[in-house]
Structures are given as C-alpha cells and as structure tokens.
Symmetry: C2
Subunit: 234 residues, 2 copies
C-alpha cells in the first residue's frame, strides 16, 4: 500500500512525463517544484520509489515510471478525474472548485467505492476540464491537443479542455463567458506580444499568451486528419 505522498510523487511524474512534448523523463528539481517541496526532499523520495521498483532513477539522472509505477499513477489520475466528475455532475460544484477536493479524495483506498462512483456517473470518459479519464483497466488515450495559441487567424475552433486547472485560471475563463465546447473565432494575432483578439458567443475579447496556451481546442476549419486505419488483429 502506498502512502498519499508516494502516490502524489507518482502522479506528478506521470503528469510531467506525458505533458506536451511527451518527453519521457523528468528531472529532480522539476519534480520538486511541481510538488512544492525542496529538491533534497524529492531526491529522498526518488531513492525510495526506486527501491520499490516504481521508477527508473539513477544518481544525477532523470526519472521515469516503471510499468508498475505507471499503472499505479494512472489509477490515481483515474480516481482524481472520476471524483472531479462526481463533484461537478452530482453535487453541483463549479469546475474551479473540484480540483482541490479531488486532491484529497483521490487517495481514498477502496476499489468498490471508485467502481461505484464510475457506475453512478455512467462510465464517463472526460472530466470537467476536458481531460480523459483512464479506464478501469488502466488505458489512457492521449488525445491530440492543440492550443488556442496555435490556431490560425480567421479560423474558428471549439474549446475542448484546459491545461491549467487552477481556480484562478478557471474563473478567468468563466469571466470571459467561455465554457467547454463553445466556439471561438480568432480575429487577430499580434505576433510581437502574442496577444489574440477572439470572439466568443458574439463577444470580443483580447487574451494573452499565457491564457491562449492553456485553452485546448479542436479546429473547425482545419483539414480533418484521416481517421487512423484500424489494424486488424492478425
């Protein structure tokens, strides 16, 4: 049985090693910063997790999850996102409130509990921030993610997720009148300071780079990539 702290380290490592560029390893300081602890602290834990065969790590090297560690990390993420969905769907929490409480609930140890929550929610596949909920068997599809910042001027796109789950950011999104699955038109993009002019629900707004790179979208106007051919078994 893992401690809450150990679970948090595994989850952090998963998040860092599959973020954006899919870089497969994370450094000690990076991990420490992400978790809000000092590098010395993270270093101790890395040694402990290596002992338990949950991560690959060697002195002065970067770290990554073993198959075992990855399985456990994905399970924590699954619980986190199911709880967020529960809070949002069943208890009327707003999307900027769910994360903090889910940080606590994700560590409750009861397979039956999480299975029941999953059933109660009819096996959801996305959480309130548009993140994929891993399946009970540990599969987590990594969806194609493009941010608002990368969208072309003149195009229209649909918001399908956010990358920053902080209450501050999420409330700013709400304040702009923007919600999940709304359509956004890019009116202009000042390359000099990366300011975007956008239109949402008929209202115009200017947003900065920081904002734009935290909104995940799918383009309405871009070429559809042909659906990947399904490989037949054998």
């Amino acid at each position: 049985m893992l401690s809450t702290t150990e679970e948090n380290y595994l989850k952090a490592l998963l998040q860092l090693t599959m973020e954006d560029g899919l870089k497969p390893e994370a450094g000690t300081n990076e991990l420490a910063t992400h978790l809000g602890v000092k590098p010395a602290t993270a270093n101790d834990m890395l040694k402990k997790l290596r002992e338990k065969k949950l991560i690959h790590y060697e002195k002065y090297g970067k770290s990554s999850l073993t198959t075992q560690g990855r399985k456990l990390a994905i399970d924590v993420v699954r619980k986190h996102r199911l709880w967020e969905t529960f809070l949002y769907e069943k208890l009327g929490f707003s999307w900027d409130e769910v994360h903090e409480v889910a940080e606590q609930l994700e560590h409750i140890q009861s397979q039956k509990l999480i299975d029941s929550i999953d059933r109660l929610l009819h096996y959801p596949t996305y959480d309130p921030h548009g993140d994929v909920i891993p399946t009970a068997s540990g599969e987590m599809k990594m969806p194609y993610r493009k941010t608002l910042l990368e969208e072309e001027v003149g195009h229209t796109c649909k918001m399908v997720g956010v990358k920053d789950n902080s209450a501050t950011f999420l409330r700013y999104v709400d304040q702009l009148g923007l919600s999940m699955h709304n359509h956004i038109r890019i009116l202009a993009h000042q390359p000099y300071d990366n300011i975007l002019e956008i239109e949402v629900n008929g209202k115009k707004a200017s947003v900065g780079q920081r904002f734009a790179e935290n909104i995940i979208i799918v383009c309405d106007d871009c070429e559809r990539k042909p659906a990947p051919k399904k490989r037949r078994k054998n």
Copy 2:
C-alpha cells in the same frame, strides 16, 4: 486544522464518554485500547490536545472533551455517518461495508462537500446502523437505547439500531434474516447463560448475550413513557 490522528482521538473520546452509562470521562489505557495504540502513545496525544484546549486532562486523571473539542468531535461523527448513509443509499454498499470506507472519508476537509452530500441525501437523521446523525449545527440527540438483552420474555420489539459496527457482527445479523425495523419476539430467556430464544420473520433462533446486547430495540408492548412536558421559555 487538525490532523487525521487528532480527529480520531477526539472522536474516540466522544464515543467513550457518551457510551451507555454516560460516564463523562475516559482513562488513558481505555482510549489507547479503543484506538489500537499503546498507552504511551495516547498519553503524548492527550498532552498535545490539552495544549490545544480541546480536552480536559491532568496527570494521572481521566480525560474529557472541552466544548471546543466536543464540537470538532461531533463534526467528525457527522461526516462519518453521512458518508455511511451515502455509501448505503446511493452506491448500494451493504451495512457491513460502509464503516471501513467512512473511516477514511470522514477526514476529507471540505465544508461544501459534506453540505452537498447532506443535501443529496435529503438531510438524513439516521445512518444505516440506526445511529443518530448530528445536525450541521452540532446537535446530537441521545436517543433512549434499550438492548434486546433487556427486553422481557413474551414481548415483541422492533430493531432500531446496532451497537457493534464490525463487519463480522453485521454479517451475523444478516445471516439470521434480521434487518433494521424488523420485529422480534422474545420466546425465552435462560438467565443462567443469558441465551435468548427469539422469533424473527416467523423464524426461530437462539442468540447469546454478546449478540443481544448489541441489538438496539424499542419495545412494542411496553408502557409508552408520557412525552416529556415541553417547558415554555421563560
């Protein structure tokens, strides 16, 4: 903010000091046994809780909750019982499964969460074991409790609660075909070894003292106590 451990000590103290005889204090060893720790450990915590003004305690004396401590303890009990009710009512857990998970959930820190669970359940007043759920304002009525062991031969009574919440005991109750609000007739009581012959749902059974003193009942045949006269304010 209290730690999970501190909350557990306060809850234990509440439980010990309002059990049965309403004895108002608990000893160090008693508390330690209840929590499954050594007396030395409990002793340290008693000193810490006294520092925090949550309990009355002095060297070689018994302990009890202060008003502050009692308020906090009742809040933990409230959360515990609301979670048990949630698991039972909304997720289909059986009454012998809820306690263990509620032991974890009772420590989640979020007022909004527990308020929402309370609302979702339509403000229940009893948990699945027949225990009173304290109100949000911290009132916990101590209902009149008589056990099956105390019932007279020939009388019929109704099961309204259990005193032992262990899965082992609860499954034994299930096994006898007995559930909450069922009626029980006392056919015989062997005073020598305290064995009771009872009839439940048309089926006869023999039960021992240990069992009988853990079933809480109200008598169908006993004199109703006159409702206590309501005192007018002033």
